[in-house]
Symmetry: C2
Subunit: 301 residues, 2 copies
């Protein structure tokens, strides 16, 4: 393998994963390689929360809902009893707030443009409870390098997120250099509304799609009609997307494993109630690259 | 208005519509104009059937269903009695064929890839009943010139079709230079299926979305999260899309009116049962450009 003159991934420790990413990019862009892929098929999909951006104690989308719409605080404490007390309190707050949110959408309505504007205002000032930084500053530097490295090699990077697409769109271009039309995410139902001669698109308080597990795959196919050749995820919800990514040597499947309680968080890629195969077992069986955050990343943010 | 050195629309008769299209492109691409639009917002949306491609006697998608899945012929005759006889016959055939189609999808299943491959094979050889040419040869030359003219001026052209997206994708790049991810269309529900270790996406015999009228607008917004600055349609089903296109001088709304029974077909832009405002009345009220096919187009195909 030829070493690139300039290191495209300076925040990555030298090791198996970094080596495989560079080898993969070199193979699929080398016309003389049997793994060569034409530029229009160089599709890469990235989960957002936990893959590109911190998702603990709660995902940015949830923090936004809580603070903006439910007026509740996100708590981050190590005391078990405080956490339980908060959980009971927030259960009532959430229920109450959730009903209020539904009523607001039903009665007063909100356009998709208003929602995006509201997110843009919130994300410009909201601070993460532990790190005291903006959420957009809590994206993983090693992953930004991957996005940029792919982009420079004519990949089309897509974000496929369980958060609403319109939550990510207001800042995806600035932060990830991913344009709004390459963001695939959950969404509410919408309806066209004509008020005093002006057409608007109103959000309705019913889900249209929730992007998780198989739905991520179906949405990618519905949108792009191609299999990605690279996919990055961090949880059980990303397993189907990684499995569906083209299954050959000219594909790259990466699972981010959160192992660094000190610099970020340490947690399992499984959901709380995981009855199926363990996510890490899938990674081993299907020979995915597993990023050990503590070992593989020189810098996190 | 500066005249371009090379005529970008040679198949268009000199006239109001051609002049407005050229003026529009010059304004939105001229940084010194108050109508200037940055390249990433130069979104243009095009209906397919009747706007870019012949849709009579039936749309290509319907001809495909009839011939491929229902084994029926498309009839094109001027005799009223023959047409009625055919209509009665096809009613039974369609019902029978439709049930057979549903049973096939349910019992044997079809992947989205198989569907696209089947369309690709069909469209490569199927002939239009009147013109005896392939459907992909029956696209409107003047509209191909518009697509190319827009593309050359950094527009992003999207096709928004009532046909299934996967019916248009196999040939959209070759015929329109529109890539598969820029085709928005109707679709069936899908499900992820794991068979002998291989993941596939199976079509289900239930609609997921039917792109017509308001749904076209909602799907564009869901996908692109931007208002188009140009939209082309030909029927009542496109009225909402044209209305929603940015409502300012730096937008272009064009309605293709089929007035040429000799070279193509002559028919109303309304649906058969039109209770609301007439499509042409909308065009007049909202000052859209109306293409009179007979007058405005030197060549049709």
């Amino acid at each position: 393998m030829l070493k690139p003159v300039v290191d495209p991934l300076p925040s990555w420790q030298e090791g198996k994963v970094k080596q495989r990413i560079i080898e993969f990019v070199q193979q699929v862009t080398d016309e003389s390689s049997i793994h060569y892929v034409v530029p229009e098929n160089r599709i890469a999909t990235f989960d957002n929360d936990g893959t590109l951006m911190v998702e603990k104690p709660v995902m940015a989308q949830v923090a936004y809902f809580k603070r903006k719409l439910l007026n509740a605080e996100v708590i981050n404490t190590k005391s078990k009893w405080l956490r339980i007390a908060h959980w009971i309190k927030s259960l009532f707050f959430d229920l109450f707030g959730f009903i209020r949110l539904l009523l607001t959408l039903w009665r007063r309505g909100m356009t998709t443009e208003q929602y995006r504007a509201s997110v843009a205002r919130w994300i410009a000032q909201a601070k993460h409870p532990r790190f005291g930084k903006k959420y957009t500053e809590l994206v993983y530097k090693p992953m930004l390098e991957v996005l940029q490295y792919f982009e420079a090699n004519d990949f089309k990077n897509y974000i496929v997120t369980g958060s609403t697409a319109n939550f990510v769109r207001p800042w995806s271009q600035d932060v990830y250099q991913v344009s709004v039309n390459r963001v695939i995410g959950s969404s509410l139902k919408t309806k066209l509304s004509l008020r005093s001669g002006q057409l608007d698109i109103m959000l309705e308080p019913l889900p249209f799609s929730i992007e998780n597990r198989a739905t991520k795959v179906l949405s990618i196919e519905r949108r792009i009609a191609k299999r990605p050749i690279a996919a990055f995820g961090n949880s059980y919800g990303d397993v189907d997307m990684l499995r569906w990514t083209r299954n050959s040597h000219s594909s790259l499947c990466v699972l981010i494993h959160h192992t660094d309680a000190e610099r970020e968080y340490a947690y399992s890629p499984n959901t709380r109630f995981c009855f199926g195969t363990n996510t890490l077992d899938y990674a081993e069986q299907l020979q995915w690259q597993v990023v050990d955050m503590k070992q593989d990343w020189k810098t996190v943010f």
